[in-house]
């Protein structure tokens, strides 16, 4: 691995440690959900009803780590922060690993 690549990896690691900013700042500034990504309860509040098709599809999938948090991560801020960072690291490793393997299988066949 080159020095440059090592520096990029370090940068990614620092980024992972800083991710809780992306969880805390929206709460501090009382920013709601992203537009068009409201949960069923919020839709019910906004519209007074939940559209039929949405009701059927919305519970289709139970993600193991919903909203980038570990199961039973507790209520305290520090445990939520750790849970968010660990989710980020887990996601980063899965992402990097899958792309790496996929790319090895689908790369150019000639040597460079």
């Amino acid at each position: 691995m080159t020095t440059f690549q090592k520096r990029l990896l370090l940068f990614l690691f620092i980024l992972a440690i800083l991710t809780p900013a992306g969880m805390i700042l929206p709460e501090v500034f009382k920013a709601g959900d992203a537009w068009g990504e409201w949960g069923i309860d919020t839709i019910q509040e906004m519209l007074g009803f939940v559209p039929e098709g949405m009701k059927k599809l919305s519970e289709l999938w139970k993600a193991p780590l919903p909203d980038y948090s570990l199961p039973d991560d507790g209520q305290s801020l520090s445990s939520q922060i750790i849970s968010y960072i660990l989710s980020g690291i887990i996601g980063a490793i899965i992402t990097g690993g899958i792309i790496f393997i996929f790319a090895r299988l689908n790369k150019r066949k000639v040597k460079d």
């Binding site: 440059f4 990614l12 709601g32 068009g36 559209p51 992402t95 792309i99 790319a103 090895r104």
Partner: protein, 228 residues
């Protein structure tokens, strides 16, 4: 910009799955022709970057949140086809593992964020920066690549949301899926991106490109003169 399950009708999400599958096939063919061993670690790192940067939700105080995608810089450094694969992988993992974006909407989300953002970004950059050595054009091009790329993705997402009440409602006119029409969805999605989130994607794109230009300028795909 991650459309959840239940917001798109089947007549929207099925064709968008089809479109994404076609692009995935084309991208794989392209990688088999072009992807070299030394690009592989960068591709994996680009995916990790895209995944992590999307965890940085940026608040609009009292309103909503959004985030950069990291698809534009990936398109400039590794090319739009490689970016398509990296960002699609991120989006599929986000949907399956983290419930961010719906299972039914994977095709739509990949089309909006892994196809449209990389290609718009790449074309805008090539148009402005060309193959020239003018640093000013390269960095202006990179900023605008990120800015227009993310905005285009947001606009398309807004259109997909906004057409739902038109194409899917019951006899009394109640929407079956995403409830807000185009005239609400488009201004909401376009403005928040044009005023904040796209600026951040633009700054990230120009900033990271600058770092690559300093250390490994020869590895920047968008300056090699290849075609997309």
């Amino acid at each position: 910009m991650h459309i959840p399950d239940g917001y798109l009708s089947p007549q929207t999400y099925i064709p968008l799955y089809g479109a994404s599958v076609v692009f995935w096939g084309m991208a794989m063919k392209r990688l088999k022709k072009e992807l070299s061993d030394k690009e592989i670690p960068y591709l994996a790192m680009a995916g990790v970057f895209s995944f992590l940067i999307q965890m940085f939700n940026i608040p609009i105080p009292g309103g909503t949140t959004g985030h950069a995608v990291g698809a534009s810089i990936t398109a400039l450094i590794l090319g739009p086809w490689a970016a398509l694969i990296a960002v699609s992988t991120v989006l599929i993992i986000q949907a399956l593992v983290f419930g961010d974006g719906g299972i039914t909407a994977i095709g739509a989300n990949c089309f909006n964020m892994a196809v449209v953002i990389p290609f718009v970004s790449y074309w805008v950059f090539r148009l402005i920066a060309g193959n020239r050595d003018s640093k000013k054009r390269v960095y202006t091009g990179a900023f605008l690549a990120g800015y227009t790329g993310l905005t285009a993705g947001a606009l398309l997402t807004a259109i997909e949301f906004g057409i739902q009440p038109l194409i899917a409602h019951d006899q009394t006119g109640n929407p079956l899926y995403a409830p807000y029409p185009l005239k609400i969805a488009i201004p909401a999605m376009a403005l928040e991106h044009m005023l904040l989130f796209s600026i951040i994607e633009g700054i990230l794109t120009a900033g990271i490109l600058r770092y690559f230009m300093k250390h490994e300028p020869q590895s920047v795909y968008a300056l090699k003169g290849g075609t997309a």
